[in-house]
Symmetry: D2
Subunit: 367 residues, 4 copies
Amino acid sequence: MSDSLLGPMFGTPGGDALLAALLETEAALARAQARYGVIPAAAAETIAACCRPGSYDAAELGRRAVRHASMVVPLVAELRARAGDAGRYVHQGATSQDVVDTALSLVAARRLDAIGTDLAAVADALAALADDHRATVQIGRTLLQQALPTTFGLVCAGWLVGVDEARAGLSRVRAERLAVQLGGPVGTVADLGGYGVVEAVAADLGLAAPVLPWHTTRNRVAELAAALGIAAGALATVALDVALLSQGEVGELAEADPGGSSAMPHKRNPARAVLVTACAHRAPGLVATILAAQPQEYQRAAGRWQAEWPVLTDLLGTAGAAAGHARAMLTGLRVDTDRMRANAAAAPAPDVGGLVDRALRNHREQP
Amino acid sequence: MSDSLLGPMFGTPGGDALLAALLETEAALARAQARYGVIPAAAAETIAACCRPGSYDAAELGRRAVRHASMVVPLVAELRARAGDAGRYVHQGATSQDVVDTALSLVAARRLDAIGTDLAAVADALAALADDHRATVQIGRTLLQQALPTTFGLVCAGWLVGVDEARAGLSRVRAERLAVQLGGPVGTVADLGGYGVVEAVAADLGLAAPVLPWHTTRNRVAELAAALGIAAGALATVALDVALLSQGEVGELAEADPGGSSAMPHKRNPARAVLVTACAHRAPGLVATILAAQPQEYQRAAGRWQAEWPVLTDLLGTAGAAAGHARAMLTGLRVDTDRMRANAAAAPAPDVGGLVDRALRNHREQP
Amino acid sequence: MSDSLLGPMFGTPGGDALLAALLETEAALARAQARYGVIPAAAAETIAACCRPGSYDAAELGRRAVRHASMVVPLVAELRARAGDAGRYVHQGATSQDVVDTALSLVAARRLDAIGTDLAAVADALAALADDHRATVQIGRTLLQQALPTTFGLVCAGWLVGVDEARAGLSRVRAERLAVQLGGPVGTVADLGGYGVVEAVAADLGLAAPVLPWHTTRNRVAELAAALGIAAGALATVALDVALLSQGEVGELAEADPGGSSAMPHKRNPARAVLVTACAHRAPGLVATILAAQPQEYQRAAGRWQAEWPVLTDLLGTAGAAAGHARAMLTGLRVDTDRMRANAAAAPAPDVGGLVDRALRNHREQP
Amino acid sequence: MSDSLLGPMFGTPGGDALLAALLETEAALARAQARYGVIPAAAAETIAACCRPGSYDAAELGRRAVRHASMVVPLVAELRARAGDAGRYVHQGATSQDVVDTALSLVAARRLDAIGTDLAAVADALAALADDHRATVQIGRTLLQQALPTTFGLVCAGWLVGVDEARAGLSRVRAERLAVQLGGPVGTVADLGGYGVVEAVAADLGLAAPVLPWHTTRNRVAELAAALGIAAGALATVALDVALLSQGEVGELAEADPGGSSAMPHKRNPARAVLVTACAHRAPGLVATILAAQPQEYQRAAGRWQAEWPVLTDLLGTAGAAAGHARAMLTGLRVDTDRMRANAAAAPAPDVGGLVDRALRNHREQP
């Protein structure tokens, strides 16, 4: 198994996050099964104690994973060996896809939390700009041509609504759609100890409990991908306009820390806007790949499930990078209100305070 | 303007639905402006009376639209001419994108309603199968290989959850995200008569009222596309398994009305499953195209907005066709329980009634 | 079978082209089989005489096609009925996919010929601009910022190379990859009369003869799609820059027939550039859909083949529309050399005549 | 600059290949400029001697690259420092995109060479199977249903043609389309020393010399991506059928080293076919992303160029992994001719030797 299939393998930064999540999942499963009397409480304690990721040689586990064409088989073997007599209670009733899917949900959950922080900062920055510039006249442009006056605050309010709507979508996915996966080899939950165990693992890990095992019901993965794609698009919308408004010929905006050029010191490149654009550009194709992987065969897919993990890794990474760059792009963004007024031929600013307030109110109502 | 750009043009079935929706939008705008005293009540009545689509020569309007590179300009001109003295109150304060986006939301709303009916029938059929076959043993298969026993009812319950989750996503988009668009040339709402007019048009047309005009804030369109893509994927998941289980060598399912072959009368083609698969296959690429169109320039895009309408038309059409074929595929689906038992080597059915009930309960809770 | 699956159905413009191509294919097959003594020469003459598309009621055939879930079955039945005693020699040894794939190759061939004409005009226009403006100074821009001087002629030469390379790709596909399909139900060519018949049909229709039947070897379709996608991209590259250079703040280019605005008569919209951009935007998702359809099952696919026809129709349509709009965009394009000089701060033009000549020479060498 | 944007950064395996290629490019440029008298011969020797990648601390250079938001700026600075007096002749007249694009062409060229080796082995294996089983009867299947007899050799011949056509496409791209990039900041080749330098660098590095600099003429990149996507599709076509024919209920093929299952020792998973499918599944979305990046602004893009490198890295990786897995899948593939005969109801094998020979002849004619 090539690591280009598996995505980041143990021993790389992305892979180590997965390794930690796999171990967390095994520990949570053991604890839940102990609570329901499926395995002895002492065994669960021993297993959980063996699940500290720092004590594993990630690179060596990665090599074994590639050799076994499975991330889970060598990890469970190692965990069983460490747990001694409790080893036979490790991974009880579970199948490899159970722990991989649960671990991916965990990894995604943490990435979404981090992305959410950056997106909140982006939204707050846009809200401040909208408020400050609610009466700063700017010429509106349609089809790249000057049209009629608007205000820069209203423009920022429009960007803000897009980012806030994207945040709402990600929050919903985080809370409701990132779920544990526990069903056993063909999804009957037979040897796991009942649905209560599934719910206990979910509560333990801070994930949702699904209606049924979702081994080949991949709506959840598709919804995660779509929400990330839409968030990248909302950020790219802002970056596109920032780059256009930073054109020398327009001159209304400039990044605080523009990328320079050794050969051309007069240039003020919209460096962060370019990076947001580049990161976001990758998202639609990745989303389509996840959507095309939705139909999966029988009780475990023969290829499309295996394709999900590297694609989701890329998507979480590129959407996250877009959010980080967008935050930096807006930090200290220079607004040249004189140039805006001049480009608008000194037209009076239209009264759009009410519209701006609608966007700010909507922003404050975000969770 | 080529009609391959615009998508279905007036004078074709898809285009006529758009024409009707454009006229409905103009009528609703006039009524709302009359209510707020922006235009005379009598003018609104005259305008609304002139907005019956049947009285227009759609093909001729289509030709004019192509000539003017605009669907709205010649339509408004014609409407003004018909309205006589009330003509000067037509389309007041609106811009072309306002009425096009609103009309597209209306067209999408009606298509979603129709798709929702087919999807509900699909879900009901799956719920009945899940209930009837909760104890019908079937061999579970992973990586296309026989694994351990499950029941056909649980398999149907898994399909059902996917379809119900997709329905929930479409319902949310229908209720909250299909919105009127009203902002005027650069989105300031300046000459429309205030935000109350926007809300009145929304109420009149059964659409949501947006926080702000969304001329270049395209999250709504992206969310619609994503929900359609996920629904197509949920249907394709069922169709993939129906086709596989209908293989002669497996023999567990057969469509009631299989496609035949003149040359090979013994064949029982899974004709509807093939059609669902074909329709759904088109969705991910269309969704990606909509997502890639999300970043739009300034106050009106220079190309990506114009690309949305034909793509959305295709996506609504292909997802809708998938739903229709899926409904037909399940109608009278023949389940060969003897063959299922034989393929499972007569193993006893696992007890999965509790899981099936979870899916049925979730199904009943769908709106 | 929904016509949204099949793409344009008989009785619509796109569908009628397919109907004519299907009839041409049946006629060519009969002639070739007569030449090889597989069927009587008189029968072939009768069959060919019955294959004039104008004599068929396309709309009625379209209705029957939908009812039979096949475009070919009712058409062959009608053709057999018309041919009387020769009817039993119609479609001999062929399978439905044979004639559909051959007809699609024919339709594509004619569309490529038409697109090639528009692309040649686009390239000629760019070559003239490159030649005329080889010494017209223009400021080069990187990351949307002014950088160092170049000439507008060299910029046009770069566009020209892209368009010429795209033309070369389409020419190769047209000559070598659009092929007849003839193999019979499972591709053994058994009852068609030998491979000589395949080659004769290919020569008759002006298509390539394949190594083997390609029912589920879809490289040819994928190569066609890719070449169309790349051509759309080459055109969009020009359109993107034309739109940017037409910004009021830049003012270096203007379309001869800019789209206007009733509300804002001062605007000079880059209307054709916008249309090229919109048309080209649809291509990548359609190409991906064709590529994803490449893996097809066994001797006839269960869904992905059926998805190809509407997607290819859209792709040929949107790439063709992009070429037509690009041609119009360049016709009479106004180049404001004063503004170029001013934007370049009156810097001297660099000597790039040699580079321009390289592009012009490459252009003249295109077939 | 996030490394999720840049793709594999120096200090990781993929990034180190790029680092080596960047240094090779700088060395080749110096040598070519020396040959044309642009820089002193001794300086070129010194520079080339400083370009051994092993002597650089890749991880540290990677950190500096991220800090400078450029892979090239800190590398050139380091190279200049090492070259002492010759340092001022480093990178003369070049721009960052010149060396990055050239290095990417080099990296791609080597990956294509390696992929070509695996694809040749795949094709040879298929040719041997086609030859051996030209008369082994197998039931042809259409729409997943048994249809009429063919032979397994003809089926393999069909797969072979697809793989050989894909190889031809990659060979053409390797020979003609992977090119050096040298144009300087806005593509005028001004300070590089003339077009002879460009051609000398191309000859030195084994790459093509372009008609013009292609900073924003990205056909070459799009053609590379398309050829990789088509190759992945050709491999996935084989893998799809291998997986289907390996179903227990069909039983005609089995991989020599099937993936097992600890819980279910009777299973014989088509492990490599699954991996080929998974790897190939990622390709269409990546190709679409490259195609969508084709339109780039002015003389250097503001986002879409920057998105290419990680996407191409993924595409080369996933197509390469698909080729490697396909080779392993076919090595020792077990063909159960008894089962094939039984599934075909002992029908006689059709005579398709002539068709098989056509495919074998085509295979032998591949370069």
